[in-house]
């Protein structure tokens, strides 16, 4: 039998139901793997072994008593440390929230609990999700299971490393400008950024409220679809959650037939800065899609050239406001010499509690929103956002979905770009327009780049509330690639 940690979520759930192994066996196997290899990865910030083993035992008990269980019952999941989980530390990778235990569950967490999933613990991330490498975490960088001298992407790098490193079959992350898709691409995993409003943001510590969206990480398209299905849907606690029936992602992932679908390649996603090996794999994947019967067209979205600039105004602006509450008054760190005023304590707490990238973005955002600059910066960025949404609408009137490389490059070395913010920001050049428009985006592995033998990903983008289309394209592509590779891309990763 396959090692439990290398099985897909689908197979784990089936095995548990058939009592080939118990949920407790599955959880135990994962904790053993975490104990064995996480010192190399530093994916987990908090391991909830007691809680998880109790959840797993409960699943076995329910199963023994003949209770009906959902499709992910007993399947372990790693939770990005941005989701609140009652009484479990939630740090967002920041000193300022060290030891904070929220008194409530995020909707995503409560839905996973209701689905009888086993929550293994909280995984690392760039501080407050600001970064593309998980290096800005106050708790040290997470490494890439393909090469531990390299980054696992970010900000959801703990989630991608946990899934790619076989510490968890599934993980949840969040994506504000690419923070699920880019880590998925550079670790050879599947990552999905759903339509904005598709999954509740309640209990997700906000980076940029109008851009943030939670989504699944998995090793296969079908596993991602199952997790997505479990956590998606309207939530009255989030005003921006869409009150409509959610599409059937699982059926779409199983569909495998894309004959007649029209896919668009955005001309603007190419050129300088794109690694040749990434583009090679992308072009091969396009050829496969064509062979599977899809019609491929090239089209232009001129405003996308301005997306990065607009994003680095809107996101810092919203974050400067969202992170104001971390002031040392109600929870988290307080730096107080006992003799200072509230104003001084707040400023000292924030100086000590936030890392440099967070400070940079708060300052940019504060500046961009201030009265003399609002129109030139924030106001203009919101107009660019409108143009980008218009370009997507025009594109989706011609094609069913859009495709591009997910990240222009493969995983880079830890420390390589940390002191060059602009170079770091370029990682998200293909993923950012998706968040600005609120449409869906997904990354699937398409092979290893020639130069460095590191994973590359293809991004599939679909219109609002049509996330099922991404699964249909990804399912078909994955199926073709897996048969050519003779297994998952991750099977080629070195054993840790």
């Amino acid at each position: 039998m396959t090692e439990l940690t290398r099985m897909t979520a689908v197979d784990l759930a089936a095995g548990i139901k058939k009592k080939e192994f118990s949920a407790v066996d599955v959880a135990k196997a994962h904790f053993d793997q975490i104990a064995a290899v996480d010192k190399k990865l530093n994916a987990f910030l908090f391991i909830d072994e007691d809680g998880a083993m109790a959840q797993a035992a409960n699943v076995d008990k329910k199963l023994a008593s003949g209770e009906f269980l959902g499709p992910l019952a007993g399947v372990p999941v790693a939770v990005k440390d941005i989701f609140t989980q009652k009484d479990i530390p939630t740090t967002c990778g920041s000193r300022i929230l060290e030891n904070w235990r929220p008194p409530y569950d995020s909707t995503v967490v409560s839905r996973m609990k209701n689905a009888d999933m086993v929550l293994l613990g909280k995984v690392n991330m760039d501080e407050f999700a600001m970064g593309s490498s998980t290096e800005t975490s106050a708790y040290g960088p997470t490494t890439n299971p393909w090469d531990t001298s390299r980054i696992p992407g970010g900000s959801s790098g703990g989630s991608s490393a946990a899934v790619a490193g076989f510490l968890a079959p599934l993980a949840v992350g969040t994506d504000t400008g690419g923070s699920i898709r880019q880590p998925a691409a550079v670790t050879g995993t599947v990552g999905v950024k759903p339509t904005y409003g598709g999954i509740s943001r309640y209990g997700i510590v906000a980076l940029a409220s109008s851009l943030d969206q939670a989504g699944p990480f998995a090793r296969t398209v079908l596993d991602a679809a199952l997790l997505h299905q479990a956590i998606a849907g309207y939530d009255p606690l989030d005003s921006t959650s869409i009150n409509q029936p959610i599409p059937d992602f699982v059926a779409a992932a199983k569909h495998k037939d894309i004959a007649g679908m029209k896919l668009g390649i955005v001309k603007e996603f190419a050129g300088e800065g794109y690694q040749a090996g990434v583009l090679n794999r992308f072009n091969e994947a396009v050829a496969i899609l064509r062979n599977l019967g899809a019609e491929i067209v090239e089209l232009s979205c001129p405003s996308f050239t301005y997306a990065l600039a607009a994003y680095y105004l809107i996101q810092p602006s919203e974050c400067s406001s969202n992170l104001a509450r971390f002031d040392g008054m109600r929870y988290g760190l307080r730096v107080d010499d006992g003799d200072s005023s509230v104003e001084q304590v707040m400023a000292a707490t924030r100086a000590a509690g936030f890392g440099p990238e967070v400070k940079r973005r708060i300052i940019i955002g504060t500046y961009a929103l201030s009265s003399g600059y609002y129109d030139a910066y924030y106001g203009s960025a919101q107009k660019v956002r409108r143009l980008i949404a218009d370009d997507f609408n025009a594109a989706f009137s011609q094609v069913d979905a859009l495709i591009s490389p997910t990240s222009p490059i493969t995983a880079f070395k830890i420390g390589e770009k940390l002191n060059d913010p602009m170079a770091m920001y370029l990682n998200d050049i293909c993923t950012i327009p998706v968040n600005l428009a609120g449409v869906g985006g997904m990354s699937v592995p398409i092979g290893l780049a020639d130069e460095d033998n590191l994973p590359a990903g293809m991004q599939i983008m679909a219109p609002v509330m049509c996330d099922d289309r991404m699964y249909r394209v990804a399912g078909a592509l994955e199926s073709a690639l897996v048969s050519s590779w003779g297994g998952l891309l991750l099977d080629k990763a070195p054993r840790l």
């Binding site: 005023s341 400023a347 940079r360 708060i362 956002r385």
Partner: protein, 98 residues
Amino acid sequence: MSKLSRDELRSIADLARIALTEAELDQFSSQLDVILDSVAKVQEIVNDEIKPMSHALDINNVFRADVVGNSLSATDALAAAPASEDDRFRVPRILEEE
């Protein structure tokens, strides 16, 4: 676009309630210049005709009914407080008036 002066940076940091060190002021002012130069690009393609987009969703009027739900106990509310007294959050003396 004008460069961010050191004084300007300091006053923005004050507004953002972050006590920056001299070293941070030095480092940030050069980095922020680069970033601000780059993001200023947004001004190139906008005009007065374009309606700013604040929300990705084209949905209005999302309300909830006026029905009382669960609250936290004072103990839970104050559990994470750095300091508390008489079931209230204790904060250092306040200099500025609002």
